[in-house]
């Protein structure tokens, strides 16, 4: 009883701990009730509660690192968890829609604008350049890339960056319609597009991930861990002789890493690290980045339309972010809202897959420029 009272007293003495536990509960609520990225938000939520209990044994036990700290050191400090997750993500991606309409690759590049916009804004706000770049990379809309880059740059805002990256990805259905409507007219959103995909051979699908590794490696060698693991996963999927491995990567590997990643991310969710004005600003910047990604993609499409006879629905540009397949579905829903007969899902999906490649390339380039 005495120990319990002691625990409660030390908890009340530091209200920040209680605030973080409420944040942990909120993350679990969003994951369970709203089903926003539950695989990460639920373990992250419980982990946040666990690390904020005074003298928590998950961080330190008997003067030795506790299990969460060990997991963090083994999986995040070494950058292994986000990379292993990429194998599974790569195995899930079908580059078919992109290969049949490769022009859409350019939208993937355009919709990374938010990253660079945020880096500039964060620098103007006085953040150190590595922290500014780590905040910017939230706008890659790609959790593992955000973790990889922020960790490589030694950002002190890891917790905020991870929470922002994953929660905003879950909020794409709210963020993107707002951003898209901000920069498009109803008439533009009603533009119909013909879909005449080329057939793609199996050989092309197998060679594609290998060639991307070589190109990305030659131009941005720092992107190779990200690109290489992503494309390795895709090669498992496409080669046709490793279906079992591909299935394991898509299911068991992703599930296992998600559990461990969610838990050990909470090491950075201790109240004295998290409850700072800077942290809130970083999260705000991440949100701004998501909005500017969509704006960048849409404006790029609008510029292309000036020169094209066959107009592009500018909303397809906004689908060039990495949040797959959520973004393409959101864009299709927006198109249907304006014109129930308008079907741009396949073009949006192609741009969306391009966004996955572009986001890892962006992460590698940012690292290459700063390290």
């Amino acid at each position: 009883m005495e120990i319990l009272i002691e625990g409660v007293v030390s908890l009340v003495a530091e209200p920040g701990r209680i605030a973080m536990m409420l944040i942990g509960a909120l993350l679990m609520y969003l994951g369970i009730k709203k089903q926003y990225e539950p695989t990460l938000l639920v373990p992250m939520g419980l982990g946040t509660i666990l690390v904020n209990i005074p003298g928590s044994g998950v961080l330190m036990t008997g003067g030795e690192p506790g299990p969460f700290q060990i997991l963090f050191d083994a999986g995040i400090e070494t950058e292994l968890f986000p990379l292993l997750l990429f194998i599974g993500i790569g195995a899930m991606i079908d580059f078919g829609p992109l290969l049949s309409n490769p022009f859409l690759l350019l939208f993937g590049a355009a919709a990374q604008f938010g990253i660079f916009f945020v880096i500039i804004v964060a620098s103007l706000l006085g953040f150190d350049i590595n922290d500014a770049a780590s905040a910017g990379i939230i706008a890659a809309a790609d959790g593992p890339t955000s973790i990889f880059v922020a960790n490589s740059l030694g950002s002190k805002y890891m917790g905020a960056i991870m929470v922002a990256a994953y929660s905003y990805m879950a909020l794409v259905p709210i963020i993107q319609p707002f951003a898209v409507k901000l920069v498009t007219t109803k008439k533009e959103r009603q533009i119909r597009m013909n879909y005449n995909p080329r057939s793609v051979s199996k050989t092309a699908k197998i060679l594609f991930p290998v060639i991307i590794c070589v190109i990305a490696g030659l131009i941005a060698p720092d992107s190779l861990p990200l690109v290489g693991f992503l494309m390795f996963g895709n090669l498992l999927r496409e080669c046709g002789v490793l279906d079992n491995l591909s299935q394991s990567a898509q299911n068991e590997l992703v599930n296992l890493i998600s559990i461990l990643l969610g838990l050990c991310v909470s090491v950075k969710m201790e109240y004295h690290d998290f409850l700072q004005l800077d942290t809130l600003i970083i999260m705000g910047l991440g949100l701004l980045g998501f909005v500017m990604d969509s704006v960048g993609g849409v404006l790029f499409a609008k510029v292309l339309n000036i020169f094209r006879k066959e107009k592009i629905n500018p909303m397809v540009g906004a689908a060039g972010i990495s949040a797959f397949p959520m973004s393409s579905r959101v864009i299709q829903k927006l198109a249907t809202e304006e014109d129930p007969q308008n079907f741009i899902l396949m073009q949006a999906a192609g741009a969306n897959v391009a966004g996955q490649i572009a986001s890892v390339v962006a992460g590698g380039l940012v690292l290459g420029l700063l390290l």
Partner: protein, 46 residues
């Protein structure tokens, strides 16, 4: 947090080289994709 002109210069440089670099990589991948389609057209069974 204190504003540092040098940081801003680096940030603008990252915008130019980083965003430009992504376009360059994606453009090359675009051209390679076109080439793959030409060199390895789908067989009749595909």
């Amino acid at each position: 947090m204190t504003f540092n002109m040098e940081n801003l210069e680096i940030a603008v440089q990252i915008l130019g080289l980083g965003w430009g670099g992504i376009f360059l990589v994606m453009l090359i991948i675009y051209l390679v994709s076109l080439a793959l389609g030409r060199i390895f057209p789908p067989s009749d069974s595909e």
